[in-house]
């Protein structure tokens, strides 16, 4: 089945009902996407499909045919990743790839409310979220003039 993965056309053979999460981790060996709860509650497995944040544990592989999938590996060295390091937005790190992918779908210069809404589906038990919000604010401010590569689909 063909789809776009981190900007490259790929052809992956897998059962259509497998979870996108498992296909990414096991067939594509992209293990940056984490499994947390496996029921769509924690956001750890967040990836972007056609620019929209989704939880990959609840996406049948068949439904990404012909679509654009972006994982944490596809935003390597992104301003958001650097900001998460600079502002200590990660502690244990299990939620971090999902946090960054959910934050990718935010527009430039988000308000605190917009950040809270965008990350309402991403649970972090270490940071208390404040460092995460500081990291996102800093990265989005810095990228205002050169917009991030991926924005929310309209």
């Amino acid at each position: 089945m063909q789809f776009t993965l981190n900007g490259r056309e790929v052809d992956v053979e897998a059962h259509p009902m497998r979870r996108l999460l498992d296909v990414l981790r096991e067939d594509c060996t992209l293990t940056g996407t984490k499994e947390g709860c496996g029921e769509g509650e924690c956001g750890a497995c967040t990836v972007l499909v056609d620019g929209q944040a989704v939880v990959s544990c609840l996406v049948p592989f068949a439904q990404v045919e012909g679509r654009d999938v972006r994982t944490i590996e596809g935003v390597d060295a992104h301003a958001l990743q650097r900001a998460f390091m600079d502002h200590v937005g990660a502690q244990c790190g299990i939620c971090t790839p999902g946090m960054i992918m959910a934050a990718m779908a935010l527009g430039p210069d988000p308000t605190r409310t917009q950040m809270q809404e965008a990350l309402a589906g991403n649970l972090c038990r270490c940071t208390g979220y404040e460092a995460i919000f500081r990291a996102i604010s800093a990265a989005k401010r810095a990228s205002r003039k050169t917009p991030l590569g991926v924005e929310a689909a309209t």
């Binding site: 979870r19 769509g40 989704v54 609840l58 959910a102």
Partner: protein
């Protein structure tokens, strides 16, 4: 395809179905993927009715100017479903078909007197939303029918929606209410019975000008809350009564 081996389970955004699949509690083995059907994502006026395609997502509702203008209580409900990731995938057709008594959009459709449009290969029928459920998670939908759209007539009066859960986001409701303040007030509640309920006796008390205390007393006979993992019957009764009072104070005629 419809007549050979066993039932086909329609699959849309999979936000309910894949939870069951991941837990190993899903017994179905045959699925019909509806996700690529773009015509079912339309939001449009059909005469006086607002027509919402079954595959419209919660994000689709929130972004629609038509829905924001005509049915703001549905936008309120959509914004409180899960997180953004679920809102980007969950569909109104799925929320209705799944039939959880805690479904966030269901009181809105009950209060708005919506119509479920069901289509089979040979026919289409329109089912009043209030008649759609025949029991706990059971619907009058036939095995060869799919929900293709929801039609919502114009709602006159002040629309009001509240969801009470454990936390502001990512919570399944303990009590959820949609109500309309008009000459004939409408009140619908979820999570207080096996199916979403229209609180007809409370509505009659309000319409007859008997006052909010009489309406709250009548509400006791409209709902049948239970104890379960999320809450208790007693808590749900108290909260349902408080929500009715809050509606009556906040929504002005």
């Amino acid at each position: 395809m419809l007549r050979d081996d066993g039932p086909l389970v329609p699959l849309a955004g999979a936000t309910d179905l894949y939870v069951a699949l991941n837990f190993g509690t899903l017994t179905a083995t045959r699925f019909l993927d509806l996700w690529p059907l773009e015509p079912l994502r339309r939001i449009e006026m059909r005469g006086e009715m607002l027509s919402l395609g079954a595959l419209v997502t919660y994000t689709g509702l929130t972004r629609s100017r038509l829905v924001r203008q005509r049915l703001p209580m549905l936008v309120e409900a959509a914004r409180l479903v899960g997180g953004i990731q679920i809102q980007n995938r969950g569909t109104i057709g799925g929320n209705i078909a799944n039939g959880s008594p805690a479904g966030d959009t269901l009181p809105v459709f009950a209060a708005a007197e919506a119509i479920v449009v069901a289509r089979s290969v040979g026919a289409e029928r329109r089912i009043p939303f209030v008649d759609f459920y025949s029991g706990y998670r059971a619907t009058v939908l036939r095995p060869d029918e799919l929900i293709v759209a929801i039609e919502v007539p114009a709602v006159h009066g002040h629309q009001w929606f509240r969801k009470v859960g454990t936390r502001a986001a990512q919570a399944i409701s303990k009590v959820v209410i949609a109500a309309v303040r008009a000459d004939s007030p409408r009140v619908a509640l979820g999570s207080v019975g096996p199916v979403v309920v229209r609180a007809r006796r409370a509505e009659q008390a309000l319409a007859a000008g008997q006052g909010i205390d009489a309406a709250v007393a009548a509400l006791e006979t409209d709902i049948q809350p239970i104890d379960d993992v999320r809450s208790t019957a007693e808590y749900r009764s108290v909260v349902a009564a408080n929500l009715l009072r809050q509606f009556w104070m906040q929504a002005t005629g």
